[in-house]
Amino acid sequence: MFLAMMVWVGTMIFSFLLGTFLCFKVEKSGVKRWGATGRIFKYK
């Protein structure tokens, strides 16, 4: 049970890390049309 739940939790952590990295890349691009606003999780 613990192992199964840890696999799920692991995929969720991976998801948030990857999403954050991609948001950072959008910010780094500076392209407003893609959602660059100056803050990593701000989108408009």
């Binding site: 049970m1 799920w8 998801s15």
Partner: protein
Amino acid sequence: MIWYILVFSFYVLFLIWANVKSLKKAESIDDYTTGGHRMGLLLGIGTTAATWVSVASVIGVPGYLYSSGVAAVIGWVAGWCFGGALIPIVAYKIRRPEKPARTFPEFIRHRFEPFQKKSTLQAIVGILMFIGYLLLVNIQVTGFGIVFSSITGIDYKIAIFGFLLFILITSVGGFWSVAATDTLNTILIMIGVLLASGVVWSLTGGIGNILDTLATTTAPTNVGGPELEEGILLSPFGTFGIGALASIFISNSLGTPSSPHWVTRMLAPQNVKVAILQVMGTILVLIFIMTPLIVIGLGAKVLVPSIPVDKTTDYIIPLVIQQYTPPIIGGITLVAICAAAISTANSMLLHCATSLYYDVYLNIAPKRISEKKFKNWLRLSIFGIATAAVLLAINPPWFLAMGFVYVYGGFGAAFFLVVFLGLYWKRMNRAGAYAGIIIGAVVYVAAKAMGYGLPFVIAVTASLIGVLLAVYFTKRPPLEAYEPYFEAEVSDSTRDVLAKMRSTTQEEPEAKNDRSHIG
């Protein structure tokens, strides 16, 4: 019974209200297919979560938790979550163009056949999508029929026709209608499964008692069936074995980000960042849906050690809810399951009908049509496909959750390389796309038919070899094919080609840049 009918009636009234309201928003073809690429974050999370949570999740997964144990968490819950984690990789690129594609096959055309007047690739993808979504809608109809017949007592074979009524209500307004209904459905599903899991938790005495029972029970899944091995329900591989579980996990995870409806979902948000945040938010919301489902699925083994011989494990949730939960909670939960079926089906029907009418018919026989005519034909197609799915569901061929694995595996085999290499490798060209899609689809079906354990892996490997050979033996793609996905500003020639592609099939709607964002 009266509570079930009452909750159900409220749900139907809300659906009618929401859809009449959202009907006014569906103005252009862009609105109808992808919400005009203006979807905001909250509505995006609502619609994505509802599409994600289908009957395969709310009926199928608890069914497998009941019969195979915690391994179902790895195969489906974690598998889909990992697949969801990969979706932002697609979103990061596919939402970049100023005017993104309206449909998944159109994206394939933009990327690989920008100069073709009639795109064969777009039509092939449209046909494959049609087949896949017909099967997926069929699964939703089956789940709907199981629950609707449980609520009303009507025979399953008649109950499934009730599905058409809901599709008639929810599909009139196109994407906005689907999104609005989905957001309501997400809330309903969350409340329903949380309440039901609370009841199961209290009746079983909590997770400690559930795990104790799972560790020792040998009760067969069906009355009179073979006894289970002691402790198997707590084994990470369950009754599947490592090979079958790996196959389920891979199909669910790698099939998800390349499934056309998820790719299309990433075309709807107002920008790249919203698309990424939408997936992250959805995964957060799903914790509050999947955790209760795990409690219900595993707790069901304590409450109902074996199910009647004439029922499949897909019936375990309706059985537990009807026998053990108070009527009002049962009513909300069962309506929530119907909502899950409807919200996933209406989204898939929209993609299915659009691919058939827009990507196949209008692509092969290009003509300029009015937006009104477009929407009317699309509505007719949706209803026609829904009817076919209902007829196919009279004798359902598979378990709900496993049906999803097969179709997601097929989508992944056909489209995984084309989507990811198309978005991240400039050298990926038209010949590579043909090779990837055809080899992937054919090898997957053949490997599945021959009973190989990992058909997805075999198909993607064969597809990769085909893609690499095709790409390196043919010339590089033109700049106009890949530029929108790699550069912030595109050249004039690329802009012209994109504008020309849209005008070959549709009457271009007026520019709506001044409209405010919705959601």
